[in-house]
């Protein structure tokens, strides 16, 4: 009993001590103390890693940089203003619906590529998505599959080529579209052909009849892409985007 009383008094004293100065500043902690900072062991760790990241096969760099600049200007003066107009003129549910319709059409090539890559489970999930969204989702306007736990799993022809060991080849900036590579640029054409041949829901026929739908598709594509030129806040944006694009594709292909 005695010792509890003593403890109580001690604790009380301790807490009163803290209470006496309610505005006392929180105690400084140096986060660098938890690190092992060792210049000898890590000399050039940053430089070595960064220099390696700059090694990307880019034989037509001069051309690419010009197209990159053109795309940035086009984005600033044409593409983004149009997208802002689109956002201003349409309620969100319409934009989401538009976006869903195009991504449902995109699931056709996602499925074809998943099958060719022999990704059995992914193919099954994408098939379910197509069936659910086209029927319950009213021609893809609603992404009911996502709500049921089946998010879209993008697989393009560039990834398919990559998964069969085709190297990316030279880095390429495609006018209007942005970063790509010889392999992935070819892949885009491949995906276009797949969609053409599949003729799912006769979409090409309808789109050719109503040419404005291609414009809508382009606006939707930009609407859904968060990238902004200048967002990396660096005079070396081209170099950084080149590395990030290359790594992103490697990551996608490895899955």
């Amino acid at each position: 009993m005695n010792k509890f009383a003593a403890a109580g008094v001690f604790a009380l004293l301790a807490t009163t001590g803290v209470h006496a100065q309610p505005d006392e500043a929180p105690q400084y902690r140096d986060p660098l103390d938890s690190l092992e900072i060792n210049r000898e062991a890590t000399e050039y760790q940053f430089e070595r890693s960064s220099l390696r990241a700059l090694k990307v096969h880019d034989p037509i760099e001069g051309f690419n940089r010009r197209v990159y600049r053109f795309n940035a200007r086009f984005d600033e003066y044409v593409y983004l203003p149009v997208v802002r107009g689109y956002v201003w003129a349409t309620p969100r549910f319409v934009r989401t619906g538009v976006s869903n319709v195009f991504s449902n059409l995109g699931d056709v090539s996602n499925l074809a590529n998943s099958i060719v890559q022999r990704q059995v489970h992914k193919s099954m999930r994408t098939t379910s998505r197509l069936l659910l969204n086209t029927t319950l989702g009213v021609l893809g306007i609603f992404d009911v599959a996502k709500a049921m736990g089946l998010p879209q799993e993008s697989e393009d022809f560039g990834q398919t080529l990559g998964s069969y060991g085709v190297p990316p080849g030279p880095y390429l900036i495609i006018p209007f579209l942005g970063p790509s590579s010889l392999r992935d640029g070819t892949g885009r054409v491949g995906d276009w052909v797949i969609q053409d041949e599949a003729g799912f829901l006769n979409n090409r026929e309808h789109m050719n009849e109503h040419k404005w739908t291609y414009g809508l598709q382009a606006v939707n594509l930009r609407y859904r892409t968060p990238f902004r030129y200048g967002a990396l806040d660096s005079p070396f944006e081209y170099d950084q985007v080149r590395y990030l694009y290359t790594k992103l594709r490697e990551l996608q292909i490895s899955q």
Partner: protein, 432 residues
């Protein structure tokens, strides 16, 4: 003896539970590096309107009419800034971005919405250390000196206000200013300059996570890339190491879906980034900012450090070789090879530490001390500060030092308690 141990143990337990509640700050991230990168958990973020709902526009001003830029930098001869405005007369808040950050970063956009929602006009400016500002608004092309940067900023701010009044017809009742990190140091010096010029006559100035002494803080940031990372040795690439982790994380999940909360998910998985990796990432970000800075300064001053003086930088010119060189230059290197030699041309007998002293809050101590209109927000674990720096801020600002036990370098600036406290200071209303 037993009694003493029992007493000690018990009181420690009591004390322990007391300290856990001692601060009623609900931001719980104890790891300063994690806090800095992951920021505030969504459920604790002070709500602000969406970007689409803010009445705003990006405007630009020509600050230096005589500046000639090479084609690769065309478009940077005008300084862009962001304006969010009110239709009725209102106070105007200037926001100044941190090291190597532009006016259009997510952090600045968030703060902009905080003050816009509170009924103010807001003008967001890039950091004087950012490449766009160096090109368009830095007379010397060599940022890093408190007073000189303040003059550049002050001119840009005056022109930005004129532009805002002309194009949007805004009416301003009074001026406030806030800056983050290096931008906070800039704000303090701009405030001091304006006190002498009497142009804006700022009602409130808030310094968010400022360094005390720029030179000390950059030395600490420069040290981060020398962190030993387990699994990165000899010839390994640190970035590959991180990408491999990401790759394994996705492989386990079976799909790639980049979405909000991704970082928290990774940290909860087997592939969670370690302290050392987080610190290294932060260090690498600052090193790239340093490379940008020393390259841009070289181009603007025609210093010939990276780019030969007669070399024409065209749109198609590869900048990669210059980046390769500039990567080797950290902040300290920039100061020693570019900023200090230029300073010496005017102050031949002065040392580098004397130069650094002039870009320290200590050099404007008398302006900041007992000034009821200036507050500081910082954290006990902000890694740009030494213990001494932290104590200096505590005693310099007294009850206008809003100190938090956790948050790293700006990780808690979206927290509802922090936002409320900043707003009540700026608006002059009692808090709590």
């Amino acid at each position: 003896m037993k009694r003493i141990i029992a007493t000690a143990t018990l009181s420690f337990t009591l004390l322990g539970s007391y300290t856990a509640q001692a601060d009623n700050f609900s931001y719980s991230e104890e790891n300063a590096f994690m806090a800095t990168i992951a920021s505030t958990p969504l459920e604790q973020v002070a709500p602000v309107p969406s970007e689409f709902d803010v009445q705003q526009d990006d405007l630009s001003i020509r600050v230096l009419p005589d500046r000639k830029l090479p084609p690769v930098l065309s478009g940077f001869d005008e300084l862009d800034f962001r304006l969010a405005w009110q239709d009725q007369p209102a106070p105007l808040m200037f926001l100044i971005a941190g090291t190597g950050s532009g006016f259009d970063t997510a952090r600045m956009d968030y703060l902009k919405r905080v003050f816009w929602q509170a009924g103010m006009h807001v003008i967001v400016l890039s950091s004087p250390s950012n490449h766009d500002f160096i090109a368009a608004a830095s007379r010397s092309g060599l940022p890093g000196l408190g007073r000189r940067d303040a003059r550049d900023l002050h001119s840009a701010m005056s022109m930005a206000v004129e532009e805002a009044q002309e194009t949007k017809g805004i009416e301003i009742t009074e001026y406030h200013m806030a800056g983050f990190s290096l931008g906070a140091l800039n704000a303090a010096f701009v405030g001091e300059l304006d006190q002498q010029l009497g142009q804006f006559d700022f009602s409130r100035i808030v310094l968010l996570n400022p360094p005390v002494d720029l030179y000390t803080s950059i030395t600490r940031l420069d040290a981060l890339p020398y962190t030993r990372v387990k699994g990165v040795d000899g010839t390994d690439s640190f970035y590959e190491h991180i990408f491999n982790k990401l790759s394994r994380y996705y492989a386990q999940r079976g799909s790639i879906d980049v979405q909000a909360g991704l970082f928290a998910d990774i940290q909860a998985s087997d592939e969670a980034l370690t302290d050392a990796e987080l610190a290294m990432l932060i260090g690498a970000v600052f090193r790239f900012a340093a490379a940008d800075l020393s390259f841009m300064s070289d181009v603007i001053t025609r210093g010939g450090v990276y780019v030969p003086v007669d070399q024409q930088l065209k749109v198609s010119t590869s900048l990669t070789p210059y980046l390769r060189q500039a990567l080797f230059c950290n902040f300290k290197c920039y100061i020693e090879t570019q900023l200090y030699p230029d300073w010496q041309t005017r102050n031949a007998d002065q040392s580098i530490s004397q130069m650094a002293e002039e870009t320290s809050l200590r050099s404007i101590d008398s302006y900041l001390r007992d000034n009821p209109d200036i507050a500081v927000v910082t954290n006990a674990d902000d890694f740009i500060l030494t213990g001494e720096d932290y104590q200096y801020l505590v005693q310099l600002f007294g009850e206008r030092a809003f100190l938090y036990p956790r948050g790293g370098h700006g990780g808690n600036l979206q927290h509802k308690d922090v936002v409320a406290r900043i707003l009540s200071f700026v608006e002059g209303t009692p808090n709590e």
